[in-house]
């Protein structure tokens, strides 16, 4: 039940975010504004239990939510077949560059910390 209340709260915050984003012509999409609103709203303790239940459920199944958009690739098979290999090379290369830069920068910046990090793999 608290999961259901949590989902209702998440949707309400998204609606509030969409309204604010439109009303003030914000450069940020509605759900992102909703995320910032939720960050503030969580100071109010009664919200935490329902939000936790809904958020943990949604985030645990996050990858399922990308399937409908992913299947949309079939509507662009022409672009994919024309530029397929080059596109894949660009996407793979830039993704690796992005991950490498982020990981090396963050590791260097956190090196000063005395926090031990567990195992590897």
């Amino acid at each position: 039940m608290s999961g259901l209340r949590g989902l209702a709260l998440l949707l309400l915050l998204q609606v509030a975010g969409e309204v604010l984003a439109k009303a003030f012509a914000l450069p940020v999409p509605g759900p992102v504004v909703g995320m910032v609103l939720l960050l503030g709203a969580l100071r109010w303790a009664p919200l935490r239990e329902p939000i936790a239940a809904a958020a943990e459920f949604l985030l645990a199944h996050l990858s399922l939510l990308f399937v409908p958009v992913g299947v949309g690739v079939i509507t662009h098979l022409d672009v994919v077949s024309e530029y397929g290999l080059r596109l894949l090379a660009v996407i793979v290369g830039s993704t690796w560059i992005g991950m490498t830069v982020t990981a090396l920068v963050l590791r260097a910046l956190l090196r000063g910390e005395a926090v031990p990090e567990p195992r590897d793999g």
């Binding site: 989902l7 915050l13 939510l65 079939i74 662009h76 672009v79 830039s94 992005g98 963050l106 910046l109």
Partner: protein, 238 residues
């Protein structure tokens, strides 16, 4: 036989079809993924997309007919983005302490991913609308569509590129980080979330709790940074 065809035509034209196909295929892909010890190549998003895509093309079912049912899952992306505040809140002390380091890493990593994609695609002679659709590919699909729209890309293409980017990250991050000898789960998760948004984060959540939390933080930060900075960058440099 004719009855069967009639039944198929009827069923495949109702929203029930898209919703059932998405959930059932994903549930099976998830079982297979668990069975092989969550090996990266068995990524359930990748295989669900492949199986459903092949079925749609083989049966000549149009994407809008599939999406009529699949949209009930698709709409949950919105509240899922809002829900990203939860992992941030749970680790707020840590995030505040490491805030500057995380923001710098997200900024440089996001810029490197978007910049290298745009530069490489231009050099390879791809049309401008494809180049611009590639720029927001490290941002979660629903937000990437919005950004692409504002910078002159094609939203539907941007969503497809974002999903492919997510799968590339989820499939290869383990090997890349092992090669780079990144052994901190927090750093691995954060880098995966920065470059490969929700699909990368979904993989991180399944692998390690620290990695999952930091991937969620990275995803949220990237959404904020990219939706403000990418349109600005394109206004000034393109």
């Amino acid at each position: 036989m004719a009855d069967f065809v009639q039944l198929w035509v009827y069923l495949s034209s109702t929203p029930l079809f898209g919703l059932t196909a998405t959930l059932a295929v994903y549930a099976l892909a998830q079982i297979a993924y668990e069975r092989v010890g969550r090996a990266p190549w068995a990524n359930p998003v990748l295989w669900s997309v492949v199986v459903i895509g092949v079925v749609l093309v083989a049966t000549r079912t149009d994407y809008p007919i599939y999406f009529a049912g699949a949209q009930f899952i698709h709409v949950l992306l919105g509240p899922a983005v809002v829900a990203l505040a939860w992992p941030l809140w749970v680790r707020r002390a840590e995030v505040r302490r490491r805030g500057i380091a995380l923001t710098i890493a997200a900024l440089l990593g996001g810029a490197a991913a978007a910049g290298s994609a745009v530069a490489a695609a231009s050099l390879l002679g791809m049309p401008l609308d494809i180049v611009r659709s590639l720029a927001p590919k490290s941002v979660t699909a629903p937000v990437a569509m919005g950004i692409a729209d504002r910078i002159g890309g094609v939203p539907a293409l941007a969503a497809v590129f974002a999903v492919i980017t997510g799968m590339v990250g989820a499939l290869s991050a383990k090997y890349l980080f092992d090669f780079l000898r990144i052994d901190s789960w927090a750093v691995r998760g954060f880098a995966l979330g920065t470059a490969s948004h929700g699909i990368g984060a979904a993989r991180a959540i399944q692998v390690d709790e620290d990695a999952g939390a930091y991937a969620g933080i990275a995803l949220g930060l990237q959404v904020l940074l990219a939706s403000i900075l990418l349109p600005l960058a394109f206004r000034f440099f393109a």
